[in-house]
């Protein structure tokens, strides 16, 4: 696996997240939902890698989060190529729902551009309501509504992309209808991934229909039907 280096060229606040802009060549950019294990290069080695995800921003620059608060513009970073499985929008999806549960939708919003490029209608459902700064970056053609709007219109999407913390997976299955779902879907499961797969440390395991899977290797994006209603 080749090791990469990049410069942190800009740091800014986006809602409650700290976002950084990296000068990484485009062919190393992660797909939405994939992550870059990253460490700042400094005299004292950092103890853990930080998994950086692509977030909404200028499409010509790589915007990633969540950045540790101690990183500053000009820092040199060592990183690995994109890891894990990201979102894969079905080419035939025409009504795409984005659902962010208990977290900012900054990662999901990276799907808006490819969704609009395939002439899909896009709706964002969030709970809680996103920060106004984040909302200002959402194209006006994207409808934004609360979680209840999705619950009232479960027949609308033909594809649903979800982003949530691991602990909220059980809550998701209370919101969505029983299997089989009336739409396709994928879920980005947020959890610690300290070993990024090299150690199979097991802290990021997710229970699926095919047994326990590691979010760092087999995810962090899983098919919805794989993780819902798993006893």
């Amino acid at each position: 696996m080749p090791n990469l280096t990049a410069k942190l060229v800009e740091v800014f606040q986006l809602g409650e997240e700290i976002v950084g802009v990296l000068d990484l060549p485009r062919h190393f950019w992660p797909e939405p939902g994939q992550y870059l294990p990253c460490q700042r290069l400094s005299e004292k080695p950092e103890i853990m890698t930080t998994p950086l995800f692509k977030v909404i921003g200028d499409p010509n620059r790589l915007c990633v989060a969540p950045l540790p608060g101690s990183w500053t513009p000009g820092d040199r970073l060592a990183l690995l190529p994109p890891q894990g499985n990201g979102f894969k929008l079905p080419h035939n999806a025409r009504r795409i729902g984005l659902l962010a549960m208990s977290i900012p939708p900054s990662r999901l919003l990276t799907l808006v551009k490819p969704a609009l490029a395939q002439n899909a209608a896009v709706s964002l459902f969030c709970n809680p309501q996103p920060d106004p700064d984040l909302l200002s970056r959402v194209p006006s053609v994207v409808e934004v509504g609360p979680l209840s709007a999705l619950q009232d219109n479960l027949q609308w999407p033909d594809f649903l992309a979800v982003d949530l913390p691991l602990a909220r997976l059980e809550h998701l299955q209370e919101i969505l209808p029983p299997l089989p779902l009336p739409f396709e879907g994928q879920v980005l499961v947020r959890t610690s991934m300290p070993c990024h797969g090299v150690g199979e440390c097991g802290v990021c395991t997710v229970k699926t229909r095919r047994g326990w899977r590691l979010a760092c290797v087999n995810g962090p994006v899983f098919p919805l039907a794989e993780v819902l209603h798993v006893a």
Binding site: M1, N3, P37, C38, Q39, P45, E46, I47, M48, T49, A78, L79, L80, S192, P194, C195, H196, G197, V198, G199, E200, C201, G202, V203, T205, W212
Partner: protein, 262 residues
């Protein structure tokens, strides 16, 4: 153990070509040269802990950072010894470095059964017994008696167990004592306490001190210690341990850096 021309070699002695190993639980069940370009620096590969029966992940599994390190609580999920042997024996046999299989010592009778399943496997160099936190000297004697066979036996314990077990270890003289990361506790984000192993440079002074105690007792010691810089490994080797165990640093973007730094 380094040959000095005067010592005799017993079948149960442990020989390493390089004075570095990985800590159990840091590199999975089998070495993967593609994902682990640092393998040529290691003298042996220690597997993820394996129990007699399959184990599920802990419900409250987590990784909690603290200043100078992090606490890891996973539940040590593994497929159990039978499936592990059938699943990994070929990859152990074809590995470019010898394998030390880490066994979770739960009861003496299950240890004996697990060790028997490993004897005769190609390229398995030794077994390492991970002691339970409450292990008494008597139980340690029972574990050692149960595990005695063709393979060298390493005893893996945390520094908090050294005072209780030191006398028994001196009497038993295992092939090596592997001093592993201490156990600790931190508050969970949702309240309550979570216990787990502690990793990171913050534990180094504690580990160095415990390693010195074991070395001074005449034991052959492999010591982990939150090693992130070369000088830390050199300090442990300088105090007489015969190999250094690496943990969290192997999860860095470029673990080879740990071996290069002056």
């Amino acid at each position: 153990m380094w040959l000095d021309g005067q010592s005799t070699i017993r079948k149960q002695d442990l020989l390493l070509t390089n004075p570095y190993v990985n800590a159990a639980g840091t590199l999975g069940f089998t070495p993967d040269p593609r994902a682990m370009p640092f393998l040529n620096h290691l003298g042996a590969f220690i597997t993820h802990p394996i129990s007699r029966r399959p184990r599920q992940p802990a419900a409250n599994r987590c990784c909690l950072p603290f200043p100078g390190g992090f606490l890891l609580h996973t539940g040590l999920a593994n497929p159990g010894i039978s499936r592990a042997v059938s699943r990994y024996r070929r990859r152990w046999a074809s590995a470019t470095l010898p394998i030390i299989v880490h066994l979770l010592a739960e009861a003496p009778e299950t240890v004996a059964e697990m060790v028997q399943k490993l004897e005769g496997l190609e390229n398995v160099l030794a077994v390492e017994l991970g002691l339970p936190p409450e292990c008494s000297p008597k139980l340690l004697f029972d574990f050692m008696a149960a595990s005695t066979g063709e393979l060298p036996v390493l005893i893996s314990l945390g520094p908090e167990q050294v005072p209780t077990l030191l006398t028994a270890l001196k009497a038993l003289q295992p092939a090596a004592v592997h001093l592993t990361e201490p156990r600790g506790a931190l508050p969970e984000p949702d309240g309550g306490l979570v216990s787990g192993r502690l990793y990171g440079p913050a534990i180094f002074p504690l580990m160095l001190s415990a390693a010195q105690t074991l070395v001074n007792a005449g034991l052959r010691v492999i010591a982990d210690g939150g090693i992130y810089e070369r000088w830390q490994a050199e300090a442990l080797l300088g105090c007489g341990v015969f190999a250094v165990g690496l943990d969290g640093t192997l999860w860095g973007v470029d673990p080879n850096e740990s071996f290069r730094k002056k």
